[in-house]
Symmetry: C2
Subunit: 241 residues, 2 copies
């Protein structure tokens, strides 16, 4: 069922994480890996391409594939990763409180904010994320009810993405994101009571999320405490094409 190259990707990744292939060492050549797995070199190359993209190895023409230090904990703003997934991966002491759950209709007054066509029925949800007991993120979501018809406050208090993908079987594909530093509002201070008075901005990540068939279904605004905000990323030099 799962593709052969995915299995090979996973096994090589495990070998890297468990230091069977330590940092700075080279993986076996593509031909040797193909022998080990009794598959074609093409299949191995697909696996190595993913490892390269994910920052586990650096491929080098004529030399081999070198294992990179995977020191950085990935806190991806890029990549579409839910808070719940981050919590699990990073083992955070985190809790979610749903502070608003309502259904609204998109109208001219909020169109600029949500970018949904006027008249679209939406869920409007606000959640506060507490990390180590401190209110650290305010998430405001809008979901198209045509796509997500059975949202509840209970679902919102857990993992919405887990629900969307595993229960509703939606295939979440891509998002346009923008990151800015926005002025603190009185509403922000209400949900983040411990924010120091001299802090005048929150880090805002705004996302428009689409399904695999390009349907636009979610708009999210995440506002982060500036003194707690950090994200780490592995990035490759853009080829100039």
């Amino acid at each position: 069922m799962t593709a052969r190259y995915i299995e090979i990707y996973q096994q090589l990744k495990t070998g890297i994480v468990e230091e069977k292939y330590p940092a700075d060492s080279f993986l076996p050549s593509e031909a040797k890996i193909a022998d080990q797995f009794s598959c074609s070199r093409d299949t191995v190359r697909k696996a190595l391409l993913r490892l390269d993209e994910d920052g586990f190895i650096q491929k080098q023409h004529g030399r081999g594939s070198q294992v990179l230090k995977h020191s950085l904990i990935n806190f991806p703003i890029s990549g579409l990763t839910s808070f719940q997934e981050l919590k699990e991966v990073q083992g955070l002491d985190a809790a979610t409180k749903v502070v608003l759950f309502e259904t609204i209709k998109s109208d001219p007054s909020n169109y600029h904010k949500t970018a949904f066509p006027i008249g679209t029925n939406l869920y409007h949800i606000i959640r506060v994320r507490n990390i180590d007991g401190l209110a650290s993120v305010i998430d405001e979501d809008y979901f198209d009810q045509k796509i997500v018809p059975h949202m509840t406050a209970k679902i919102a208090s857990g993992s919405i993405y887990d629900y969307l993908e595993n229960t509703e079987k939606l295939i979440i594909a891509y998002a346009e994101k923008s990151v800015t530093a926005e002025l603190v509002t009185s509403t922000d201070r209400k949900w983040m009571p411990n924010l120091a008075v001299q802090e005048n901005r929150l880090i805002q990540v705004e996302s428009r999320v689409h399904l695999a068939d390009t349907t636009y279904f979610q708009h999210t605004i995440s506002r982060h405490r500036p003194d707690k905000f950090q994200f780490n990323e592995f990035s490759r030099r853009q080829k100039t094409f």
Copy 2:
């Protein structure tokens, strides 16, 4: 010299940008594109993979490749894109002033900052970026002199990446980046005199940059005016592998 699949990528991309293939329409099937270019389907698939990664199309199993709205101007923090390149792509009215150019040796007092081994000879450069006449970014760079032996203040006032790649023929491959919101210092205010007094933080992007052979050669700290900071990104949902 340039690979066939790159040519195909470029031509399709041009067709999308010039709206020969408008948003929401479908590209011809892989087989048809292969016919048009008299190449194999494998070669077409490589081109489409890049277009998909770059957010120009959405591939859909059994359906085709749909053209996406490419509304967002990419201001990549991810992706390793130099200020000079951004300036050219976005047509910014931007100027660079080199405010510090010195050679130093890495020692215990700055090791935590640069992460270069103690005793490494380094160029230390600080540049202020003015956009529309306003000091908007402070860039602080450290370069390993073993890798970049002939840096000058004149080069630093232009495009260092252009120099590194085209003159020194270095192949810049990847970076570990972190983004945080750091407290404003008196030095920051010196270089950004118009920063409002109530602003207490700058958005900081810190990068450790490596060459294709994994050599670590550059450490950069970019501090952005919070009221001017914005970056947009196209991002895909991480497969859970």
